[in-house]
Chain length 359, copies 2
Amino acid sequence: MKYIDTNNCRLEIGDITTSSLDEKLNFTYAHVKKVVIVDENSRENCLEYMLTNFTGLSEAEIILLPAGEDNKQLNIVGSVWEALTEYGVSRHDVIINLGGGMITDLGGFVASCYKRGLDFINIPTTLLSMVDASIGGKTGVNLGHYKNQIGVFSDPVAVYIDPVFLSTLPGYELLSGYAEMLKHGLIHSEALFSSVLQAMREDEIPSLDLIESCIRVKHEVVTEDPTEKGKRKVLNLGHTIGHVLEGHFMNRIPLTHGHCVAIGIMMEAYISYRRGMLAEEDFRLVQDAIFEFYELPAYSNDEVGEMVAMLYNDKKNANNAILCVLLQKIGDCSYDIEVPESQFVEAFLHYKNLQINMN
Amino acid sequence: MKYIDTNNCRLEIGDITTSSLDEKLNFTYAHVKKVVIVDENSRENCLEYMLTNFTGLSEAEIILLPAGEDNKQLNIVGSVWEALTEYGVSRHDVIINLGGGMITDLGGFVASCYKRGLDFINIPTTLLSMVDASIGGKTGVNLGHYKNQIGVFSDPVAVYIDPVFLSTLPGYELLSGYAEMLKHGLIHSEALFSSVLQAMREDEIPSLDLIESCIRVKHEVVTEDPTEKGKRKVLNLGHTIGHVLEGHFMNRIPLTHGHCVAIGIMMEAYISYRRGMLAEEDFRLVQDAIFEFYELPAYSNDEVGEMVAMLYNDKKNANNAILCVLLQKIGDCSYDIEVPESQFVEAFLHYKNLQINMN
């Protein structure tokens, strides 16, 4: 078992059946209500494993939510709060979020605002939520098409990361997580970027060591700047454009969060390159890596206008300027860079034309 | 101007036109969007005063909400978040809550969760919100009949308390605030309790000094225990029963929050007395004071059952036991006291019979 401790939260990486969870359920939370929040996927693939291995969950209430990012909405949050009220859950009880990023983001928000906050534990079951969503204290839900528009910073008491759950994931879900791992590489070092790319090429579930390396990159950044006043913004590499793509395509074609981030990374690398910040060689390396695994979604000129308009609602903006993370080299980026609308339009049009040429 | 400073928040008590607000609007927040949240009452009675006196608000967006505690609900919160998104409000902008407790509670929650939190300023316009709701970092909304079931702890950057707004309040609104001031007296000292009672008898708007004394009582308690792990619970005197009355009568007869708290204080004093904790003389003093100003609402035997059932959902409970603040003497209370259901039933029935005798 590997441990990462923060002020408020312990991360354990490895076999969950030998983790501290059993003790938590049978000691810390022995005499309180336990509520497990799952979606259709984690109920199908992970819940039985948990109930079989943890007797402390035998009397837990199970709240089942519909799967998918488009259900990470306020009406679902409201219905969970109503269910908790019906079960008579108090602020001394505990919520266990078992699922992907949708469940850990939404469940964390649910727990942080119910009766002004009760303890919650995250058990991420997708690669994306293991390396990204369940660490760093961000909770939230979407408001219509606006990603994570509503939420709070709030830490789980513990996060358990066990690759046992990855074996049930479809390939596109693994790729979604790998996109954030590529991002961690781009932020941190060429070595990490290469290791992630190599694991992807070997078409395998990433090793515990590689998962841990990526988590440590995120962990270091969020420890330094938990509420994203500065440095933490580097984690948004690929997300300025990625969030817009995700919102735009949400109800039309099923693009994962990581897929959108991967395309976002490439487009933002293109902007970095066109501004003379990123060497052409590095830009090509990034673009080739993304194209190797992720398809470009098709969009029209009108849609470029719509997506560029959405950029103005990004949470990182200030004074009505679009602020973006740009790449300086593989392993180093800068944040809070004001990028004029015209450069985003150029990037969207460049890849729109590329899309046509590739077909 | 009187000042009370906490870690995160400054309170200014006195003439708002000579307070630091003008500087804040024209310096700290000069270049960001300002959003003022009002309800029908504060728009009618307070908004013009603010717009006339503060040029820094000339371009503010105004969000108007329907008045009344029964509108302190999630659907209203959702519509405010949608309005903020439409106005392109960023996390660098500022929200100004101008109104009673419904506006400061709901507006504080709106601000704390929008894009994971932006600055907000409270300008309470009712006596209740001046002495209670806008201090102490509690934000929240009701979930159906459950009072403040959803919320977070989050401090405004500043609170401006100016009695100029009190002159427009109807008598029952003043009485609502006075109930919390009586509570501050009961928690703190016989002297404060008597001063509040005397001001009520003189049928006047309370003096700046008396308002300040009550705020200081609350301020001392919440500074010691901001997230209500212990000591802060004393502020819930009268609220275990008060919240249930408020939820129960919400859609039927218009009882103010303070009115319900006043009746709750009396019933909880009755329980304290019946348990032998509170001397009969002190109990009579409390009961007489409450009966002098607040009417008992009528309820049936069936309603007693319904209300007692609602007690189990109080946020302060643990392990399915009802925990209550009880009075030891005027000026001293104890918290986390487990009170069996039967003693609540007895209190509700006692005052039900008293109600009949009084008619």
